[in-house]
């Protein structure tokens, strides 16, 4: 099924570039710049009206944001969409304008992983307190030591 969607995507958005990842859960990899267009296309033309999960993964060479999409009407299996972000300045377009349900999830990914979602209406920490330093789910986050509460970060 993901294959089909992939072919349709390639057809519909010729400028964008995709990659089909044949794995346990087949996924479609998208370039960061194309994500918003692809998301809009998937929602409006392919009926993927439901965004289940937004996940950030810290790979050694890149950050990856993974989206799991469903179609409520068709009741399909999930479509996995992957987007890579650079290690130095991770930025990904926000899909909150398309799926409002992404709001808290993107904030969470930003909070724990440090990936900025451009275009998010209110991108701030959600689980940790304002002024917390660092993003704990990154692999390079120190596993030992304490951080005093109340250290204000000049924002």
């Amino acid at each position: 099924m993901s294959r089909e969607i992939y072919e349709r995507l390639v057809e519909a958005l010729p400028e964008a570039s995709f990659e089909y990842l044949e794995e346990k859960d087949p996924a479609i990899s998208v370039k960061t710049d194309d994500l918003f267009e692809v998301a809009r296309y998937l929602k409006e033309d392919q009926g993927f009206d439901y965004l289940s999960a937004v996940t950030g993964v810290d790979y050694p060479d890149r950050f990856e944001v993974v989206y799991h999409l469903y179609s409520m009407k068709k009741g399909t299996r999930p479509l996995t969409l992957k987007v890579s972000a650079s290690k130095e300045e991770p930025e990904v377009p926000s899909v909150t304008p398309i799926w409002p349900g992404a709001n808290f999830q993107e904030r969470e990914v930003y909070d724990l992983m440090g990936i900025r979602f451009v275009g998010h209406p209110d991108l701030k920490r959600i689980l940790l307190w304002e002024g917390y330093k660092g993003h704990p789910l990154r692999k390079d986050f120190p596993l030992e030591g304490y951080q005093a509460i109340g250290q204000e970060e000049p924002s």
């Binding site: 439901y50 289940s52 009741g75 996995t80 409002p100 689980l127």
Partner: protein
């Protein structure tokens, strides 16, 4: 005190509901802007119970994560177990013996009954009942927790499921006990309904409160009873049938008025459907093995996998990335109540303070799962 300076006509006050508040079901905070008693704005603030579950998950081995999943939604540890275990099984492609599948389904459906009963009890507590429905719910829960304890050794933190099966087979004496509990469940649900369903005060407090239209529910990624009460016929057990749910005959409960009362009705209906599933499972359960032998050092192959189940509170998914080692490379929990909370401010605007607690109660959050 922050005032809306635009109109100068009305004076709004900002009230912190929580983090220590009787009706936030834990340490959850809502910054509520009030005009009189009417909500103008609401901002949920969470993270007071954040325990870095996902980071800990990367440190633990795959097996060691199972007791941690118990502590996500501490009311439904069995279904959390099941979601995680199934994700790992998908990753490592492990086949599960048939009896184990049945045991899992019995446990998960019992969990669903526990969760819904407690959710309704807590909702009624928030509505101002002096604990009576809650305690009736807890009575039934005690009986079910006894069964859990009998099978797994612990009442709430069951840690019962393993990759490729369950920890132990059901103990002797479990089945008769389970049968008598299941046989008594419909009477309990009936009594619950007699107490609440037609009660005018419950109706007045719940009907047309927190209306969540279906398209909005979908847009905000709501799941579980919240979604089905909005009239969306979507149950992962049916749509994306996992385990052996396709063998059972049950209905997806939906309601059409999309309000707090319908969420209550959906929960009652799901309890009845769970009883149906349990009755069928009790008849069909075969004898046989309950687990497969795995190597002592368990290393699933490289890859990433997402698996979701219909937990009592909604879609519970685990996204696992494996680098072939003993620990997950990334361990992500898609917790239903965290994402259901996204819609809370939209639901509450324009209602009274008293409705906020009703709406929050009808979303049925557990902070262990929201904050992880």
């Amino acid at each position: 005190m922050q005032r809306v300076e635009t109109g100068l006509r009305t004076e709004t006050i900002t009230v912190n509901m929580g983090p220590q508040h009787p009706s936030t079901h834990g340490v959850f905070r809502m910054i509520v802007t009030l005009d009189g008693e009417t909500i103008v704005d609401l901002e949920p603030v969470m993270g007071y119970l954040h325990r870095c579950q996902e980071k800990i998950g990367e440190r633990n081995t795959y097996l060691q994560n199972i007791p941690y999943t118990d502590r996500l939604d501490y009311i439904c540890s069995m279904s959390n177990n099941m979601a995680y275990v199934m994700a790992v099984e998908k990753l490592a492609q492990i086949e599960v013996p048939e009896r184990a599948e049945y045991i899992r389904i019995i446990m998960v459906e019992l969990t669903r009954i526990v969760n819904h009963a407690v959710a309704i009890g807590a909702l009624l507590n928030d509505l101002g009942c002096f604990f009576t429905p809650m305690l009736y719910a807890l009575e039934e829960r005690e009986r079910i927790l006894d069964l859990f304890e009998m099978a797994s050794g612990s009442r709430m933190m069951c840690n019962y499921m393993r990759f490729g099966g369950v920890r132990y087979d059901l103990p002797p004496g479990f089945m008769p006990e389970l049968k008598s509990v299941v046989a008594a469940l419909p009477a309990f649900i009936d009594e619950f309904e007699r107490l609440l369903t037609e009660n005018e005060i419950v109706l007045a407090r719940c009907q047309n409160v927190g209306v969540l239209p279906p398209d909005m529910a979908i847009a905000y990624s709501c799941t579980g009873p919240l979604l089905r009460a909005s009239g969306v016929n979507y149950d992962i057990r049916k749509v994306d049938s996992y385990s052996i749910y396709d063998r059972f005959d049950f209905d997806v409960v939906t309601e059409t008025n999309c309000d707090v009362y319908d969420r209550y009705l959906v929960r009652i209906g799901e309890m009845r459907q769970s009883v149906r599933i349990l009755e069928q499972a009790l008849e069909q359960i075969p004898e046989g093995e309950v687990s497969v032998k795995l190597p002592r050092v368990f290393k699933p192959p490289e890859g990433d996998v997402y698996h979701r189940i219909e937990s009592p509170k909604g879609e519970l998914g685990f996204y696992l990335v494996s680098d072939g080692g003993t620990n997950p490379y990334r361990y992500k929990i898609r917790s239903p109540t965290f994402i259901n909370l996204t819609v809370l401010p939209e639901l509450c605007k324009g209602h009274k303070v008293a409705d906020v607690v009703a709406i929050l109660g009808s979303i049925d959050i557990v902070l262990g799962e929201v904050d992880r």
